[in-house]
Amino acid sequence: MRDVYVAGIGITTFTRLEFALSEIASYASMMALKDAGVSEVDQVYVANMGAPRVNHQTALASAVVDSLSLTPAGAAAIENGPASGGSALKAGFQAVASGMEDVVLVAGVERMREVNNLEATDFVATLTHPIAEYIYGVTLPAHAAMFTRLYMDKYGVTERHLAMVGVKNQNAALNNEWAHLQQEITLEGILDSPEAMTNNPYVAEPLRFFDACPVSDGGAAVVLVSKEKALELGRPLIRLSGVGQATDTHAVHERVEPTDLLAVRKAAADAFEMAGLTPEDVDVAELHDAFTILEIAESEEVGFFPRGEGHLALERGDTALGGKIPINVGGGLKGRGHPVGATGVAQAWEIVTQLRGDGGARQVEDAKVGFTCNFGGFGNNVVCLTFVRED
């Protein structure tokens, strides 16, 4: 298997975008191609979850490759729920590592704000079990709320811990010009003041408004290349060194212990094993904080902290910029936004930005090893990746 490198990255602002879906993907892709210094690619993968349902568009990859004048490159769309981005990166990795392709463009895109909030929530809920969950009205906030309640009971996580994650990540987004949320929040404003319950009402108890990521439009892209091509292009050598993917039961209630995110655990372990790394080696991480509880739970499952101690690490400041293992320094899904199909690619974009030392005010000092966890379904399909800077 050949080594695979990230030669170029691109992203759009995550917000409400009044652009065609393929144009959002194309804009991010153009940035990535320009960054890499390539004008031709062998293969394009486009990660997206909702185009046919939300945007009334199928065959998205064909539209994107044409928008970019990249024909006759191969092109395919990859839909794998919120893990579409990670899955497309895995496909791109396989294409280059196998020797089949030398230059692969991986783009992720979603335009969710074309529909109203209720329709967007319903669209995301279609990833749940159609007979055991969806028909009973389960939504992702509801799933996350039940998970949070169990986690609180088992490990002593409180609403204050959840709010701390929200404040940390939303305020981190202030240092990321591409992030959706550009509003500072405080614990006083969302938790402690007499107005907090109105400013930050329950969405699905115990989760409140600021515990959830925003509904966003946006696109992100990376260019994956072989080592030979990477050396030729002369960009910083960032190697995609580990890829892990795992699944769990579709219906959450079928899990022996619903607070165990087994797919996260296995995907992370596989990625670390492939890369020859351990969680202790990671300098900066992107975890899938669609809801604040997920950052805490995933930080334990991937091995950064012992089981049930993620919230204690948060209290100590271990996960903040300057802490032991800074998590979501670009805002995460909570602050950057969560255009579902784009998220996995956006996580890679952030990590490569960090490993290149281009993070500006959010830069983790001398970051050499990065990690991403792209959490699909409610933990039933997860992709973890490791990235290493080679000086």
């Binding site: 975008l17 009044e18 652009f19 065609a20 879906l21 393929s22 144009e23 194309s26 153009m30 568009q57 539209a63 044409d66 928008s67 970019l68 004048s69 109203n116 909030n117 949320l181 550009q182 509003q183 500072e184 929040i185 405080t186 006083e188 404003g189 969302i190 003041s193 007499p194 107005e195 907090a196 319950m197 109105t198 400013n199 930050n200 009402p201 600021f210």
Partner: protein, 255 residues
């Protein structure tokens, strides 16, 4: 015989109870003051409303134009029984709300415009306005309309307003809904916040000067694209156009 037309044209305002200022904390931790606006302060607000006429998203242009005309008419004595409240953060104008009394039992909500977004500023402003109608003016219900989907969600859905489609609203174009005292009381605990009295330093800052909004709503990005995307789903033509622009930029830099 001479006639002083101004005496005929200028409405005589009905005496209304004063709005008592209040303050609250936003999610950002910033203190926001809600206070009544005097007639001679209206020009200070108009200059911050006028730019909204050019913001073609979320109906800011329509709402901005209507609010501008209402405030101007109020300032020049051509709108009866109107009141205006300003919402300020450290003196900065964050929202404007206005309404009027139709009769001693009926109020009419005119507009709620947030100049700072994402922190429920508009929602707090609307709640303050309704609190004034019910608690100070003694109205039994308030007629409400919405121009934007955001407004519809905030007022009609969050407050569970009743339909009053048979009653015309002065804003026209959309049917009337009503916030009754019963509905308002039901919403008080979850939607209506604020503390009184306002600490003197906060109130003084607000009264001293209406400062411009630091992050006002701006026109949508690339409106050409917004229009084209409806007809050109692959946007190929637009991409080619953009590349041409980039090439021209590069060439001008080189030159």
């Amino acid at each position: 015989m001479s006639v002083d037309l101004e005496k005929i044209l200028r409405p005589v305002d009905t005496p209304m109870a004063p709005y008592v200022p209040k303050y609250m904390l936003l999610a950002s931790g910033e203190a926001v003051v809600v206070r009544p606006v005097e007639r001679d302060e209206i020009p200070d607000i108009l200059k911050h409303v006028e730019p909204l006429l050019h913001v073609e998203r979320d109906y800011y242009d329509v709402v901005g134009a209507r609010l501008y005309s209402e405030l101007l008419a109020h300032y020049r004595h051509r709108y009866q029984d109107q009141y205006v409240l300003a919402v300020q953060i450290d003196g900065e104008l964050a929202a404007v709300v206005n309404g009027r009394q139709v009769n001693p039992k009926l109020g009419m909500s005119l507009h709620t415009v947030a100049l700072r977004r994402g922190l429920r500023v508009g929602a707090h402003a609307f709640a303050a306005k309704m609190e004034y109608h019910f608690d100070e003016l003694g109205h039994d219900e308030v007629l409400v309309v919405a121009e934007s989907p955001i407004g519809f969600r905030r007022w009609m859905i969050e407050y569970k307003l009743e339909k009053r489609f048979e009653v015309p609203h002065e804003l026209g174009g959309v049917p009337s809904w009503a916030l009754t005292r019963e509905l308002f009381d039901a919403a008080r605990s979850s939607l209506v916040v604020g503390r009184r009295p306002v600490p003197p330093e906060l109130l003084d800052k607000a009264m001293d000067k209406i400062l411009p909004p630091s992050d006002p709503p701006t026109p949508a990005l690339d409106p050409l694209s917004a229009t084209r995307s409806k007809y050109d789903p692959t946007a190929t033509a637009l991409m080619v156009e953009r590349w041409a622009m980039e090439r021209a930029e590069e060439a001008s830099k080189d030159a």
